[in-house]
């Protein structure tokens, strides 16, 4: 484990050196990312000038909702920083045969494929997310109990694990297909569902969608469970969500591992 941590730190160091080599590009990525996030926050502020709550009686008034948004920002920034750059690069590695070099190294291929590139500019969103969370929680009607604060980091990890499992399955699809340039688009469409409180998915269309996004592809557990723990009153029912998130995270990691290993066994490599 220490070895993998040492290698991750070496990757991080190398990526930071590279980012500093292309400083203008790094700053532009930070500005673009923060700009996009600011526009989203402004849009939500605008929504709250028309309504006091997202869905009647859901408890997602302005401050709790911004705690929800902050939770999403934190989770997404971790995924975007650690996993997505490598996963996006995988398409090119499979197409050109660059994956060959990964497979001959005495290291877990999944680790190398998913974590060799770290995008430090994505941490900017995470930092804003932490600030936004502090602001939102300080203005909420109720203060989260200690158990909520204790569970929150664990549930953030679970959310990241669920998304990581999805990234790995998309990466496995890339290996099987030889080319998967829509990987990032698909990721965007899929994670879009996790950006909003689960309560909005109701009615004849919303209900089934909520079921699918909770039990089949557990994308709705990613942000909803930690956000609910911190932004809504903690009750006995909250434990059900916590258990679901932990089980979904474990299942996501196990299933994605199996899928990835099977994909690697069928890797064809590119002609030289």
């Amino acid at each position: 484990m220490n070895r993998y941590l040492a290698i991750l730190l070496t990757f991080a160091r190398a990526c930071l050196v590279r980012d500093m080599t292309f400083r203008a590009n790094f700053l532009l990525e930070c500005v673009t990312s923060l700009g996009w996030m600011s526009m989203n926050l402004a849009f939500y502020l605008l929504v709250f000038t028309y309504t006091a709550e997202i869905g009647k009686g859901t408890g997602w008034s302005k401050e709790p909702f911004f705690a929800f948004v902050a939770t999403g920002l934190i989770i997404n920034s971790i995924v975007q920083a650690f996993f997505m750059p490598s996963a996006e690069e995988l398409t090119e590695m499979v197409r050109t045969g660059g994956l060959d070099a990964v497979l001959v190294q005495p290291l877990d291929a999944q680790f190398l494929v998913s974590m060799h590139r770290i995008d430090f500019s994505s941490f900017a969103n995470g930092a804003v997310g932490v600030g936004l969370l502090a602001w939102a929680v300080s203005r909420m009607d109720h203060a989260p109990p200690p158990v909520a604060w204790a569970l929150y980091p664990l549930l953030i990890v679970c959310g990241v694990a669920i998304l990581y499992g999805l990234v790995i399955m998309l990466a496995a699809a890339t290996i099987l297909m030889g080319r998967n340039q829509s990987l990032y688009d698909f990721w965007f469409y899929l994670t879009n569902f996790s950006r909003y409180p689960a309560e909005i998915y109701s009615g004849p269309w919303g209900g089934p969608l909520r079921m699918i996004c909770t039990f089949v592809i557990p994308i709705l557990l990613v942000v909803n469970v930690p956000a609910r723990v911190i932004a809504q009153p903690f009750t006995g029912e909250s434990w059900g969500g916590v258990a679901a998130a932990v089980i979904a995270a474990a299942a996501s990691l196990v299933v994605s591992r199996i899928v990835f290993q099977r994909a690697l066994a069928r890797y064809r490599s590119a002609s030289s």
Binding site: I7, T10, R18, F22, A101, A109, A265, R268
Partner: protein, 348 residues
Amino acid sequence: MHNTDPNAAAAVADPVIEVEGLAKEYRVFDKPEGLAASVRALFHRTSRAVEAVKGVDLVVGRGEFVALLGPNGAGKTTLLKLLSGIITPTRGTARVLGHVPWERADDFRRRFALVMGQRNQLWWDLPAAESFRLHQEIYRIDPARFEKTRDALVDMLDVRRLILQPVRELSLGERMKLELVAALLHEPEVLFLDEPTIGLDVVAQHTIHEFLRDVQRRRRMTVVLTTHYMKDVAALCERVVVITRGDVLYDGSLAEIVDRFTTHKIVTLDFDEAPERALIERFGFPCEFRGPQVVLRIDRSRIADVLPEVLAAAGVRDVSVEDVPLEEIVAELFRSDTRAHAAAEAGS
């Protein structure tokens, strides 16, 4: 296997690579021409099996330097990929350093290295020194040993000044030297080289030949090399495995390939001035006139008898007797295999 030196396999002591009936089949989808056919192919695709490697048998001993030769698409690189565990075979068995390669055990992967001349394995935007450091972590090389090995390798290739320069700023030859340094840092017992000198100038080729020969002898490393450059083979390898259409056509020593597949020697005669054609043509051997120089192809069995007569011809200033170039022998081997294959296809 068509032509195997019977002594080659038997003579292999301390085998490091053992391959039996190894085959790799790919399914290739046909891409039809035209819009309508392309739309139809969305629903119904036709495919065919392509056998890149067909039941190869091979044994390589510790410390051997073996060349895999063959035309493009012969299956050389596929064989290397199978031996390094990158891809899984359709059938057959292989053991490299006692391991089944495609099981990808860390203990196995720590003991070999693969260098591909057409692919960059170093971090593109960073100096090679950063990649070396990462390599040290991945292969768990003791820091003192790492520095000693790295320094020795960079000095041998005279690339110390390059290791702090971003890789993207280096020439192809410089990059290849640094790729070799990275590959050898963990002191692998087996080295797979896939066209390591492709696109390099003669000076870089020569430097890499000297380096590989030196390192291989010092470490008693087993090296399997694929190349299209016969200079690589002549400079480095004692044993040659010729592969065509995924099958081993010849496996034996380099000297044997020359003896077995050539019937003549090349005799070059230099005259003070262009000789009379009749004077040379009377010997009855194929000859080529290049001004004051004449190149003859004389039967090996007759060379001792004929050469004095040829030299007695008036005005010979200088003479050289050489084997047929390796390129020519191998090309003829490929051509004869193609002809045999075409004849077999026509007959069936």
